[in-house]
């Protein structure tokens, strides 16, 4: 059976290279012409804890994962049966997710446990001694005896065997593997290819009956201008394109990758990447760099963003042209779930900072929008002299997918109104009252442009005043810019309606849920008649009137988002007359799957209550589902007997 979409998963301890392996396979499939969507789940841990990577490949664009797995590739026992060695185990492994007719690649000594868990279900076990593949490859390099030190290559073996089971030819796989090794490392690359080949051939020979295969032929040609990348890269590349001159950051998951990418480009692109002592410093330095004349940006996640309200106010009251602040949301509150997904910072982003603060808040919904919205944000910052917040999340940051190559031909830099000494009339006031509310800005170092600026309320010159007339005018000058934004920026940047404007049911959402919603609607309603999807990209200023118009007349409105309190639904209700009939929520730390959206929408049609919670692929009850799962795991553990936790050797030979 060849599925229109093939779902593969690899799981293993952190540090075992599953991400590397999965991305190799993804690129191979993408190069073969498939549309690929990948995403990873991992713990806030460096080595040992369970992580897994899902890939979905199809002959049409796909933007989300599905629940069922056609081929599960396990590098360890936990991937299969869970972490039953904890006082309170966290999960039961992935064996149950494998579709009937699907298969599991695993090492010999794990078969028994898996069989017990499968309890007769129709799943093929493909037993493969990864170590053997590694050993063979190392032997060719004259290092056969060291196989136990090269467990890290197990993942290469797993990829090789997976490729064979999927029916992927070997050559492109070898090519992609080798492309990751340069110069002296070439030898290591070759050893990896050998390892993959051994496993590939072993699998071709030994394994036969996987019912699922990749779709027979991909619809697109290799040269149709698709690229494969992650959200952090899309944002970073957009910053480079926009002429960003200073990126500040303090390390934090899942934002760091963006800054690390930029660090790699510093000297090529005349961009300074500044690692600051904390996020307070990161935003303040960026605010002042913006005043100083460069485009400036900082990227962070919740705990770092929590240290930035001060800097947002600084930017806003001094009317700095920026910075662009990228917040990659992750599971909150507090440190929360550092490497997991959530869209929990919407309200915080809208309201961070004391007093009334003008700001623009944008949430791109996919990798392309990550690129274009980031590019535009710098124009907005310069033009409106406000901070711009981009709300991304862990899902967007780490998803790895095929997207059309970015089209840069229409991108224009707009630096906003600048002080021109030649056209000066009278004294230059940095905060001159103007009709638009925007005052041309001088750049420090410019002759004739000397100005003052203060975070206290100030007059047109930039000096402190507490005068009432001035106060009223300045408040309006600053806040009024949001009205200007609302007027000037075209609607297509602010929201989009997918599907028929006459569809009776409107799914309303924001940010990274877009992919799963589009996929789900494609499945539920291929004609696009019953459902339409309204994606809101501009959260501030909120395009209330337009949304109201688009939603009026709907039979049913379903808001869908990844947080506990239905934050978008709240904003919608505050700003429009629209009240969501259903709030579909997910806050278990993982992004929506296509199936979860489908299940939730079906539930709303079947008479579900106002709040619809999904988790693990289905609609669940908020009050009971969690505790039940906890209990079940404890039971499972008690039944299974003690599972050995991953062994952690102490530092070698330390002196007690």
């Amino acid at each position: 059976m060849s599925a229109p979409t093939f779902s593969w998963m690899i799981g293993g301890p952190q540090g075992s290279g599953i991400n590397l392996g999965a991305e190799i396979l993804a690129r191979v499939m993408s190069r073969l012409g498939y549309y690929v969507f990948g995403n990873i789940e991992y713990h806030s841990n460096i080595k040992g804890k369970h992580s897994y990577y899902r890939l979905r490949a199809a002959d049409r664009p796909v933007h989300s994962h599905i629940e069922e797995v056609h081929l599960l590739t396990a590098l360890d026992e936990e991937t299969l049966i869970g972490d039953l060695y904890h006082e309170f185990p966290g999960h039961r492994g992935h064996v149950e997710q494998v579709a009937p007719g699907g298969g599991i690649l695993l090492e010999p000594d794990r078969v028994e446990g898996v069989r017990r868990r499968l309890d007769g279900r129709d799943v093929h076990l493909y037993v493969i001694p990864y170590g053997e593949a590694v050993h063979q490859a190392l032997s060719l390099a004259g290092k056969g005896g060291q196989a136990h030190e090269y467990r890290i290559m197990n993942n290469t073996a797993a990829i090789g065997a997976s490729a064979a089971l999927l029916g992927v030819p070997f050559d492109p796989l070898a090519e992609v593997i080798l492309s990751g090794f340069h110069g002296k490392a070439r030898r290591v690359g070759e050893t990896n290819v050998h390892c993959a080949r051994f496993a590939y051939e072993y699998a071709q020979k030994e394994f036969k009956d996987l019912r699922f295969k990749l779709p027979p032929k991909p619809r697109r040609a290799r040269d149709d201008k698709q690229i494969m990348l992650k959200g952090t890269q899309a944002v970073a590349i957009a910053k480079l394109k926009a002429g960003c001159g200073l990126q500040t950051y303090y390390p934090i998951s899942p934002a760091t990758d963006e800054s690390v990418y930029l660090e790699g480009q510093q000297s090529q692109y005349n961009l300074v990447v500044l690692q600051t002592e904390d996020e307070v410093s990161a935003i303040d330095a960026a605010v002042m760099a913006a005043h100083g004349g460069v485009r400036a940006s900082t990227s962070t996640s919740g705990p770092g963003f929590a240290l930035m309200p001060e800097g947002l106010g600084f930017s806003a009251i001094t009317e700095a042209p920026g910075p662009v602040v990228v917040n990659y949301q992750r599971g909150g509150p507090s440190t929360g779930l550092p490497t997991r997904h959530e869209q929990g910072d919407l309200r915080f982003a809208l309201h961070a900072g004391q007093g009334d603060i003008p700001r623009i808040v944008i949430a791109p919904g996919d990798l392309s929008e990550c690129f274009y919205d980031t590019f535009d944000s710098f124009n907005y910052a310069d033009r409106y002299q406000v901070p711009v917040i981009l709300l991304l999340d862990k899902h967007l940051a780490a998803m790895y997918a095929t997207v059309p190559r970015f089209d840069t031909s229409g991108l224009k830099i707009d630096r906003g109104e600048l002080f021109d000494p030649a056209q000066r009339d009278g004294r230059y006031y940095r905060y001159r009252f103007t009709e638009s509310g925007i005052s041309p800005r001088a750049l420090p170092g410019q002759a004739g442009g000397i100005f003052w600026t203060t975070t206290d309320e100030h007059d047109q010159v930039g000096h402190i005043t507490e005068g009432i007339g001035n106060r009223l005018t300045m408040m309006r000058k600053r806040m009024g810019k949001l009205e200007l934004v609302e007027k000037e920026i075209p609607d297509e940047k602010k929201f989009a309606l997918y599907g028929s404007p006459q569809a009776p049911i409107r799914v309303v959402s924001w940010g990274s849920t877009k992919g799963a919603i589009l996929d789900a609607l494609g499945r539920l309603d291929p004609e696009g008649k019953r459902y339409a999807f309204l994606q809101i990209r501009f959260l501030q200023p909120f395009p209330a009137k337009q949304l109201q118009a688009l939603l009026r007349g709907a039979q049913k409105i379903v808001c869908l988002e990844s947080n506990y309190s239905a934050q978008l639904a709240g904003v919608l209700r505050e700003k429009t007359d629209i009240r969501a009939d259903h709030k579909v929520l997910k806050y278990d730390g993982q992004p929506f799957s296509e199936d979860e959206v489908v299940a939730a929408l079906e539930a709303t049609e079947a008479g579900a209550g106002e709040e619809v919670l999904v988790s693990e692929g289905k609609v669940v009850s908020a009050a009971t589902y969690g505790p039940e799962q906890v209990d079940k795991l404890v039971e499972l553990k008690e039944k299974s007997g003690k599972m050995a936790p991953p062994m952690v050797p102490l530092p070698p030979g330390y002196n007690r």
């Binding site: 002429g243 692109y269 005349n270 410093s281 100083g292 000096h463």
Partner: protein
């Protein structure tokens, strides 16, 4: 970096027209005048100077200067200075702020900001109190002491700014006195000329709240002997002569530390420590990250070609 023009600039050139609202007799007046004198001495064009302050009485300084002025946030002088300087490394950037601002809420930035050795000058108006909030103890108030504005005596060890700056990598460390304006102007000029992170901690009288460290106390009216004296009038040599000699660096640091904790209770003014090593900008330039032109003027950044990056993702 000092940009110079024909020598027609006087201290008055650097004065703005704003009404000054410091208290009568405040030591801050002395500092702002000294800063203006220092800039005049170095003949730096006003529009090439930016004064960046925190929040406090001291925070109002930029408004009184006829240069670019940024009155930022409480404690955030150094992050602000850092951002501005990286945007335009041709500017002469002068950070100013209170002791509460710099050694209290901002002390994390003080430590981290010094370590980079970015080329800036930082003047701390050290009056031992949080003046603008009405005289609470600041980090430099001596343990066991109490100004008239404090509810009770301090039970916390005071910051020694010289020792802290040494530990934080400042490459120029000096101390001035607000009411010795000419001498202070000289120190500030040296600090500006120094390539790297320069701290001038300034004893500042606050007649409104600090009745301990008044003019007459500094002059030693109570003890009969002036408390202040000048390092440059002794044979003290603050300069590290061979920056590659780790032993000399360590020794000069230890010497400065000892000077700053003189058991006599006398308080030296002048330069405690100076080291010439590449600045942060130098290092960035060496890595090819920073060009000769300031980032802010690099039109080229808006013509960037990202195609090679996209190619790699195909």
């Amino acid at each position: 970096m000092a940009t110079t023009t024909a020598p027609q600039l006087t201290a008055k050139t650097y004065k703005s027209e704003v009404h000054n609202d410091w208290c009568p007799g405040c030591g801050d007046f002395g500092i702002v005048i000294a800063l203006q004198m220092a800039l005049a001495k170095l003949q730096i064009t006003p529009h090439n100077v930016a004064v960046v302050s925190g929040i406090g009485c001291s925070g109002k300084t930029p408004h009184y200067m006829g240069t670019y002025g940024f009155h930022t946030l409480h404690g955030r002088v150094l992050p602000s200075v850092t951002g501005l300087k990286l945007a335009n490394h041709r500017l002469t950037v002068i950070g100013v702020g209170g002791d509460g601002d710099g050694y209290g809420i901002g002390v994390g930035h003080f430590v981290s900001g010094g370590r980079r050795n970015l080329d800036f000058t930082y003047l701390v108006f050290n009056n031992d109190v949080y003046a603008l909030t009405k005289g609470q103890a600041s980090p430099t108030i001596e343990k066991g002491k109490k100004t008239k504005s404090m509810a009770d005596s301090s039970i916390v060890e005071a910051i020694n700014p010289v020792a802290l700056a040494l530990a934080s990598g400042y490459t120029f460390i000096a101390r001035g006195y607000a009411l010795e304006v000419k001498y202070l102007a000289n120190l500030i000029a040296q600090a500006i000329q120094h390539r790297g992170s320069a701290l001038v901690d300034i004893f500042q009288t606050c007649p409104t709240y600090n009745d301990l460290h008044s003019k007459s106390w500094y002059e030693g009216k109570d003890s009969g002997q002036p408390r202040l004296y000048k390092l440059d009038e002794s044979d003290y040599d603050p300069v590290v002569h061979d920056p590659n000699d780790r032993a000399e660096v360590a020794q000069k640091k230890a010497q400065a530390l000892l000077k700053s904790e003189e058991p006599s209770g006398r308080l030296p003014l002048g330069v405690f420590y100076q080291l010439e090593v590449p600045t942060y900008e130098d290092c960035l330039r060496e890595k090819g990250v920073l060009g000769h032109e300031p980032q802010a003027r690099l039109g080229a950044v808006f013509q960037r070609d990202i195609q090679p990056l996209l190619d790699r993702l195909a």
